[in-house]
C-alpha cells in the first residue's frame, strides 16, 4: 500500500469540483487507500445532502406588506448622499479598515516619539565654507603657532560660542 499525504483539507473542494485535474487524481488515489479520509469524505457529502434537502421556510403572514411599508417610508426620506454609501461600502472592506486603523495608530504613537527625538526642532544652518576659510585665514595669520581656527570651527558646529580674541 502506498502511503500518501492525508487529503482532509481538500475534501470539500473535491466534493464541490473546485480542484485541478492533478489534485483530483491525488485525492481519488488517497481515498482508495485511507479509510479515515474516506469516512470524512462520506460525512461531508452527507452534510451537504442534508443542507440541500432543507425545506423552504415560509415567511410569516404579511411579510411582503410590511416590507412594502418599510420601502415606502424609505422612499419618502430625502436621498442619502452618494459619497456616504461609497464610504460605508469601502469601510466594510476589512483590509481598508485595518489600513486606516494602522495609519491612525502610527500617527498617534509616532508623533510623540518624533517630537521627543527632536525631529521637529529647527536644524542648524549648514556651515558656510567661504566664511570658515576667511575666519581661518584671519586667525592663523594672527597666531600662526596655535591652530585656534580648528577649535573655533568645531565649537561653531556644536553651537559653542566663539572664544573671545586674546
Amino acid at each position: 500500500m502506498t502511503r500518501t499525504r492525508h487529503v482532509s483539507d481538500d475534501l470539500s473542494a473535491y466534493i464541490d469540483g473546485a480542484l485541478g485535474v492533478r489534485e483530483v487524481e491525488r485525492v481519488k488515489a488517497h481515498l482508495d487507500v485511507c479509510p479515515g479520509c474516506q469516512q470524512e469524505y462520506q460525512g461531508l457529502q452527507a452534510v451537504q445532502r442534508l443542507l440541500r434537502s432543507l425545506p423552504d421556510p415560509t415567511p410569516q403572514a404579511g411579510f411582503l406588506d410590511r416590507m412594502h411599508w418599510r420601502l415606502l417610508r424609505e422612499a419618502s426620506q430625502p436621498a442619502r448622499p452618494r459619497w456616504l454609501d461609497t464610504l460605508r461600502e469601502t469601510w466594510s472592506i476589512r483590509p481598508f479598515r485595518l489600513a486606516v486603523v494602522a495609519g491612525g495608530l502610527a500617527l498617534v504613537l509616532g508623533l510623540p516619539v518624533a517630537w521627543m527625538s527632536g525631529q521637529f526642532t529647527p536644524r542648524q544652518a549648514p556651515l558656510d565654507a567661504e566664511d570658515y576659510v576667511r575666519h581661518h585665514i584671519v586667525l592663523s595669520s594672527d597666531r600662526p603657532l596655535v591652530d585656534e581656527a580648528t577649535t573655533t570651527f568645531v565649537s561653531y558646529d556644536f553651537g559653542i560660542p566663539d572664544q573671545p580674541p586674546r
Partner: protein
Amino acid sequence: MADAVSVLDSREAMTRTAPHVDERTAHRLAAFEELVQRHRNQIYRVAYRLAGNPDDAEDLAQEAVVEAFRAFDRYRPGTYFDRWLYRIMSRTYIDTMRRRRRRPTVSLDAPSAAEGEARIHSMGDSSQDPQELTEKASLDGAIQAALDRLPQEFRAAVVLADIEGLSYDEVADALRCPVGTVRSRLHRARQMLRGALGPLLSGRR
C-alpha cells in the same frame, strides 16, 4: 380569495396613509419591488438560515432590502439581482451580529421554546402527512441549531454555497473575501456541522 382581498385591503390602507413619494422615486420603487417580489423566496430563505428564527429573519430581510433600495442606482439591470442582494444581506447580517456581540441582549445559542415552535410552524406545505411534517420540522430544527452555532462568516459561506448553490467565486464576491478563504471557511463549517449532526448523518449515507 378572502386572503387576496385582505392583502389588497391592507395595501390600499397603506397607500392611503403612505408618505408622499415623488414620481421618479415611485417608478424606481415599483421596479425595485418587482424584483423583490420575484426573488422573495430566496431572500427569505437566506435571511432565515442566517438569522435562525422567523422574527430575526424578517428583520434581516427588511434591513437588507432597504439597504439594497438605497443602493439600487448601482444595480446593473440584467445581472443577478439575488446575488447582488445576498451580498448586501451578508454584510447586513455580519454587521448586525457584530453589534449584538458588543451589546448582547439574548442568548443566540439556546433558542427558546417559542422560537422552536415558530420554526416548526414556519415550514409550510400543509399537504404532507403530519408525522412526516413533524419529523422534517425536528430535522430542520436540529440542522438550524447546528448552523446557529457556527461563527457568522462560516454560516454565511455554508448558507450561500450549500443551500443557495452559489459557486466559490460568487460566495467570495458576496462575502468580499478571497476564494481561498471561502474554501477553508466552507470546509471548516462542514466539519463542524458533521461533528454536530453526527447521529443524524449516520442514517443518511
